[in-house]
C-alpha cells in the first residue's frame, strides 16, 4: 500500500481529514503534533523588556496508509484542503510505498480488512 504523509497547519487538521474522506472515501489517519521551520518566519516574544524569538511554528503531521489506487487522489485532496490562503506555512505532502501493512486487531492485512474480509 502507500503511506501519504502531510505537514499541515493545526487549524486545518480536521478540514484535511474530512476532505480526504469526502473525495476518496478513505477513513483512517494518525496525527502527531509537530513544529516546523521553512520559508516562513517564526514568532517573537517579550518578557520584562527582553525579546526572543523561535524559528518554529506549530504544525501537525498526518499519516494516511491507503490503497495505491487512491494515493494520488488523497494527495490532491490534502493539497487543496490544506491551503489556507496565508502567504506562508501551509506545508507539504509526499508518499512512500509501504509493505506488510497489518491490522493489529485482526492480524490480517489492512487490505483484507478494508475489503471487509
Amino acid at each position: 500500500m502507500t503511506k501519504v504523509e502531510a505537514i499541515v497547519i493545526r487549524e486545518r487538521v480536521e478540514t484535511v481529514i474530512d476532505a480526504v474522506e469526502e473525495q476518496t472515501g478513505h477513513v483512517g489517519v494518525t496525527v502527531v503534533e509537530a513544529i516546523g521551520h521553512g520559508r516562513e518566519r517564526g514568532v517573537t516574544h517579550e518578557y520584562r523588556g527582553r525579546v526572543f524569538e523561535s524559528r518554529f511554528l506549530p504544525k501537525a503531521q498526518l499519516t494516511f496508509v491507503v490503497g495505491d489506487a487512491i494515493a494520488e487522489g488523497v494527495v490532491a485532496a490534502i493539497v487543496d484542503s490544506a491551503r489556507s490562503g496565508s502567504e506562508s506555512g501551509d506545508g507539504l505532502v509526499w508518499t512512500t510505498r509501504v509493505a506488510n501493512v497489518t491490522h493489529n486487531r485482526t492480524g490480517k492485512s489492512l487490505e483484507e480488512v478494508e475489503a471487509g474480509g
Binding site: R10, R12, V51, E53, L57, P58, S86
Partner: protein, 471 residues
C-alpha cells in the same frame, strides 16, 4: 453608656468570629493539599469535594450537630438546641447554649461548625481518588453526627470525658484523630487505587501532580491553625486576658519544629529531602500541638513538633507497608500524630497552665504522676472504639448495599471526567475552542532562541508580530 461587659462580649465575639473564619479557610488548605498530592485526572473532583462536604456539614450541624454537641443533655449526648432559633443565636449565655458565656450563640455555632468541617475534610484524604460521589453525601451526614457525639463527651461541660478532665485544647482527638479513624475505615473498605500495589504486592509511588498546590495548602492550613488553636479560648480572657496569644506561640513553634523534623527525617531516612514529607511534618506537628497548645511550655512545643515530623515520615511508610493506600497520608498525619499530641499533653502539661484553664492536672514530667496520661489514654480508647466502629459499620453497610467504590474504568479515566463530565484541566485533555494546542506555538528550539535574543533597546521598540492566523 457602654458597659464593660458589653465590650467584653464585643471583643470576645470579634475574636471568636475572626478565628472561626480562619478555620473555615482551612477548607481551601485541604482542597489544595489533597489536590496537589493526587493526580491531574482527579484534580477538580478532589478540590471541589471540600466545597461539597463543608456545605453539607454546615447544614447538618445547624440542624442537629450543634445540639448534639453543646445543647445541654447528659454525659453521653446533647438533647436540646436542635434547629436553633434566631433568638438562641443572637443571645449571649442563654440556655441551651449557656456554656458559651461571652459570645452569642451564632458565634459559637460558627466556631464549632468549622471544626466539624475540618474533621470531615480529613476523612476524605485517605479515601481519595476512588470513592463514588454520593458517598460524600451519605457518609458526610453520618460522620457529622458521629463527630458531634464525641465532641459532646470531651468539650461539653456535660460530657463524661470533660468531667474526667481530659485535656484536648483544640481537638487533636476530637477533630483530627476522629477524622483519621473514619478515613482509615474508608481506606480499608475501598482498597488501594488501581496500580498502587504491583502484582508482587510492592507499593508503587503515585506522586501528587502539583507540589506548589500542596505547599499552598499547607501554608493555608498553618495560617488557619492560628484560628484553630488560639480561637479555642472562645473568649478574650480564658486563661487570662490575651492568653490566646500564648496559644498562638506554641502552635507556631511546634509547626516550625515539625517542618524541620519531617524534612530532616526524610533526608536521613529516605536519602531525599522529600517536600511532601516536610509538608506532612508541618501538619503532623500542628495536629499534635492542637491538644497541647494551651497547656505546654515553648520547649515542649518544639519537642512535640519534632517528634511529629518523625512520626509523619515513618507513619506514612508504615501505613503503605501494611498495604493501606492513603494517598495524602491522613492516617499518619492526623491519626498517629493526633494520638501523640493527646498523650504528649499528659506528659508535658504545665501545672500552672492547667490550673489557669481549669482543665485536668499537670503532666508527668512535672508531677511524676500518670493520672493525666491515663485520662488522655482512656479518651483515646473510647473515641477510637466509638468512631472507628461507627464509621466502619456505616461505610460497610453502604458498601454492601450500593458499593462505595467507582468502577475500574471510571477510576482509570479519572473522577473529573467520569463523575463531573469534564476534566480539571480540560485543555490538556481535549479540544477546546481556541484552546491549548490550537494556537501557534511550540516549545522546542532552545539554542536558537538563546542565540538571537536581540539588544534590549531593540526590544523596547519592537512590536511583537501578531501570531499568524491562517484562513
Amino acid at each position: 453608656m457602654v458597659e464593660n461587659h458589653d465590650l467584653l462580649i464585643a471583643a470576645s465575639t470579634i475574636w471568636v468570629v475572626i478565628t472561626a473564619v480562619l478555620v473555615m479557610f482551612m477548607q481551601a488548605g485541604f482542597a489544595f493539599l489533597e489536590a496537589g498530592l493526587t493526580r491531574m485526572k482527579n484534580a477538580g473532583h478532589i478540590a471541589a469535594k471540600n466545597v461539597l462536604t463543608f456545605g453539607l456539614c454546615s447544614i447538618v450541624y445547624w440542624l442537629v450537630g450543634f445540639g448534639l454537641a453543646f445543647g445541654g443533655g447528659n454525659a453521653l449526648i446533647g438533647t436540646d438546641g436542635f434547629v436553633p432559633s434566631t433568638d438562641a443565636m443572637i443571645t449571649v449565655g442563654q440556655k441551651p447554649f449557656d456554656w458559651f458565656s461571652e459570645i452569642p450563640g451564632a458565634a459559637a455555632y460558627l466556631f464549632e461548625v468549622v471544626f466539624a468541617g475540618v474533621s470531615l475534610a480529613i476523612v476524605w484524604g485517605a479515601m481519595a481518588e476512588r470513592a463514588k460521589l454520593w458517598v460524600y453525601f451519605a457518609f458526610g451526614v453520618a460522620f457529622t453526627l458521629v463527630y458531634s457525639v464525641t465532641s459532646h463527651w470531651i468539650w461539653s461541660p456535660h460530657g463524661w470525658l470533660f468531667h474526667l478532665g481530659m485535656q484536648d485544647f483544640a481537638g487533636s482527638t476530637v477533630v483530627h484523630y476522629q477524622g483519621a479513624l473514619a478515613g482509615l475505615a474508608g481506606a480499608l473498605l475501598l482498597g488501594p487505587r488501581i496500580g498502587k500495589f504491583g502484582t508482587d504486592g510492592r507499593a508503587n509511588p503515585i506522586p501528587g501532580h502539583n507540589i506548589p498546590y500542596a505547599v499552598l495548602g499547607t501554608l493555608i492550613l498553618w495560617f488557619g491553625w492560628f484560628g484553630f488553636n488560639p480561637g479555642s479560648t472562645l473568649s478574650v480572657d480564658y486563661g487570662g486576658f490575651g492568653y490566646f496569644a500564648y496559644v498562638a506561640l506554641t502552635t507556631n513553634i511546634a509547626a516550625a519544629a515539625g517542618a524541620m523534623g519531617g524534612l530532616i527525617t526524610a533526608w536521613l531516612v529516605l536519602k531525599k529531602a522529600d517536600i511532601s514529607m516536610m509538608l506532612n511534618g508541618v501538619l503532623a506537628a500542628l495536629v499534635a500541638i492542637t491538644a497541647a497548645s494551651g497547656f505546654v511550655a515553648p520547649w515542649a512545643s518544639i519537642v512535640i513538633g519534632l517528634v511529629s515530623g518523625v512520626i509523619a515520615v515513618y507513619g506514612v511508610i508504615f501505613v503503605e507497608r501494611i498495604g493501606i493506600d492513603d494517598p495524602i497520608g491522613a492516617v499518619a498525619v492526623h491519626g498517629m500524630s493526633g494520638v501523640w499530641g493527646t498523650l504528649a499533653t499528659g506528659l508535658f502539661a504545665v501545672p500552672l497552665l492547667a490550673k489557669n484553664l481549669a482543665t485536668g492536672t499537670g503532666g508527668f514530667v512535672y508531677t511524676g504522676s500518670l493520672h493525666q496520661l491515663g485520662i488522655q489514654t482512656l479518651g483515646l480508647l473510647a473515641v477510637g472504639v466509638w468512631t472507628f466502629s461507627a464509621s466502619f459499620g456505616i461505610l460497610w453497610t453502604l458498601n454492601k448495599l450500593w458499593g462505595i467504590r467507582v468502577e475500574p474504568e471510571t477510576e482509570t479515566a479519572g473522577l473529573d471526567v467520569s463523575e463531573h463530565g469534564m476534566w480539571g484541566y480540560p485543555e490538556f485533555y481535549i479540544p477546546v475552542p481556541g484552546g491549548y494546542g490550537t494556537e501557534s506555538h511550540g516549545h522546542l528550539g532552545l539554542a536558537h532562541a538563546r542565540r538571537t535574543a536581540p539588544e534590549p533597546q531593540h526590544a523596547h521598540g519592537a512590536v511583537p508580530a501578531p501570531l499568524p492566523e491562517p484562513g
